[in-house]
């Protein structure tokens, strides 16, 4: 009903050309105006529909509860099915035994040691890989010659899945920490390189013009205009690299690891101790969460000028 009311108005407009023709003939605009105003239409009450703030606020209050509902149900189903004997512990340990395994591993310091060894590897690989990525990105981004030399080579190497390199690295570097760190470093180079290059190249041309107008040297253009502009992009690359370093860590540690989280998990797997395997998986997940927090903190500290970060 109301919809049809509102359609009346375009109908009026549709008649306008005819009115204009009359206007041209009669030459009296008042006649046409009066004719247009004479055709009635109803007004729709647009203020009748209101927001329902009460319902939305209510939903917001229980949002966390709602979000936790499905995970909690899964956890209960897991605990129930394992303790009722539906699923044998060799297939899937119960949440309770996973918790106990974690407590034991922490109590005798095994988990802490493994964690220290593994994060050490990931961090070393990340620092080396990100360092190479930033350096290569700057060289390729700032100098045309650098782009010719670096870019196509890295683009080519990028197509190699890093996990395929594990057997080669084992031959080259043995089975100690070195092949693992090298693998993580290699995996981290590419996201950092690509984002650094894009960040350097993506600098606003109009800002460069300002630099030229006010007589900035090339060095100052780079330090004051190009690098700060590239920084958010570099951080995105590092964020990817952190995730990938964790992935590479897991992949590298599955093979010939005598220490670290991977060794812990692989040994437990050999002994069919699914509780310890799950502890390992959870720790990997927590590491991923930690990585995200660290990156957010870095962005907040390094990019204070960015509106999105200031507001959040």
């Amino acid at each position: 009903m109301t919809v049809q009311d509102s359609r009346c108005a375009p109908g009026e407009l549709g008649r306008d050309p005819a009115a204009n023709e009359n206007l041209a003939v009669s030459g009296d605009p008042a006649v046409a105006d009066r004719a247009a105003l004479a055709t009635p239409f109803e007004l729709t009450d647009l203020s009748r529909r209101r927001n329902a703030p009460g319902r939305r606020a209510g939903l917001r209050r229980v949002r966390w509860l709602l979000r936790g509902l499905v995970p909690a149900a899964l956890l209960i189903a897991w605990q129930w099915s394992t303790s009722a004997g539906l699923v044998p512990p060799t297939t899937l340990a119960s949440p309770k035994s996973v918790f106990e395994a974690a407590r034991d591993l922490i109590a005798d310091g095994e988990l802490q040691t493994a964690l220290r060894v593994s994060t050490g590897r990931a961090l070393a690989g990340l620092v080396i890989g990100a360092g190479i990525g930033v350096a290569a990105g700057l060289v390729a981004g700032l100098w045309k010659l650098g782009e010719e030399l670096v870019d196509s080579t890295l683009q080519m190497l990028r197509t190699v899945p890093f996990i395929a390199l594990i057997p080669l690295f084992v031959v080259w570097f043995g089975i100690g920490d070195t092949p693992k760190i090298v693998l993580i470093a290699v995996a981290c180079v590419f996201p950092v390189y690509l984002n650094t290059f894009a960040g350097v190249r993506g600098v606003d041309r109009r800002l460069i013009e300002v630099g030229r107008v006010f007589g900035l040297s090339r060095t100052r253009m780079i330090t004051r205009l190009v690098l700060p502009n590239a920084l958010p992009s570099v951080l995105v690359g590092i964020r990817y690299a952190m995730g990938i370093s964790l992935l590479a860590l897991v992949a590298a540690e599955q093979i010939n690891a005598s220490s670290g989280l991977g060794a812990l998990v692989m040994n437990a797997s050999n002994q069919i101790r699914t509780d310890i395997v799950i502890v390992g998986v959870v720790v990997y997940a927590l590491l991923g969460l930690l990585v995200d927090l660290v990156v957010r903190l870095l962005e907040r500290l390094l990019l204070p000028w960015r509106p999105t970060i200031v507001k959040s």
């Binding site: 109009r206 800002l207 013009e209 300002v210 630099g211 030229r212 107008v213 006010f214 007589g215 900035l216 004051r224 205009l225 700060p228 502009n229 920084l231 990019l303 204070p304 000028w305 960015r306 509106p307 200031v310």
Partner: protein
């Protein structure tokens, strides 16, 4: 054309000299045997239809574009205010203002002095993204004036501002020009703005000076009166708005 008023000095000491200037993009000739002289301290507004090459002319004087032929002389100490503020987002306002100054002159006090002139002294430590459009443009103005330029190039600096802010910023530019007396080239497409601010209004038509009007009106100008209206109709005619005009 009107005869130059006797009150302004003859361009004996020019700030800008352009002679026989030619400039083409692809096959399109933007400037063709173009000549323009701006005296020291003179405020010149440059009008022209869109695409007539006004901005190209300004960019040539800013050394952001090159000429194909001819002579261009300009002071070394020039500043530009663009249509957009073009502030560096990663630096606070006061650092933006000092851009390009020698290190020993780059002090917070110097920046604050320049910001005070555009009534933004208390925004020195703000990030550019927290400023409104008009404030950011005033920072750009402070950045241009901190160099005490001999030639100030304004490329439609008011175009992106709302009507009220535009009037206020125009008055500010007029005041600062009056105080520091740089030669000014204001590129605009607003005839009233040109007439309110400039000593001379030049219309760029087909790569040449189509009209060169001396604005012999007392300052500050209200934009009313018959003489103002008379000058406005002349300019609009040259721009092809009021009535069709034969090419100059």
């Amino acid at each position: 054309m009107t005869t130059p008023a006797g009150t302004t000095p003859a361009p004996a000491q020019p700030a800008v000299v352009m002679r026989d200037v030619g400039k083409a993009f692809a096959a399109r000739r933007i400037l063709d045997d173009f000549a323009l002289t701006i005296a020291r301290g003179e405020f010149v507004a440059l009008l022209g239809r869109s695409g007539s090459g006004k901005t190209t002319l300004l960019r040539i004087l800013a050394e952001l574009d090159t000429v194909d032929e001819g002579t261009v002389l300009a002071p070394r100490n020039r500043s530009v205010v663009f249509q957009e503020p073009r502030l560096i987002p990663s630096e606070r306002v006061w650092r933006n203002v000092l851009l390009g100054l020698p290190r020993r002159e780059s002090t917070l006090a110097r920046a604050q002095e320049a910001l005070a002139e555009v009534n933004l002294a208390d925004h020195a430590r703000a990030w550019p993204h927290t400023l409104s459009g008009g404030e950011a443009q005033r920072v750009a103005l402070a950045r241009a004036l901190v160099h005490r330029p001999d030639l100030l190039l304004l490329d439609e600096p008011f175009a992106a501002l709302d009507a009220l802010t535009r009037l206020r910023t125009q008055a500010l530019v007029h005041e600062l020009w009056h105080r520091h007396r740089p030669a000014v080239l204001l590129v605009t497409h607003d005839v009233d703005e040109a007439l309110r601010l400039a000593d001379r209004v030049v219309v760029l038509t087909d790569g040449k000076v189509g009209l060169d009007l001396r604005v012999d009106l007392p300052r500050p100008r209200e934009g009313t009166g018959s003489r103002f209206g008379d000058l406005r109709s002349q300019l609009l005619a040259e721009l092809g708005v009021a009535r069709p005009s034969s090419p100059a």
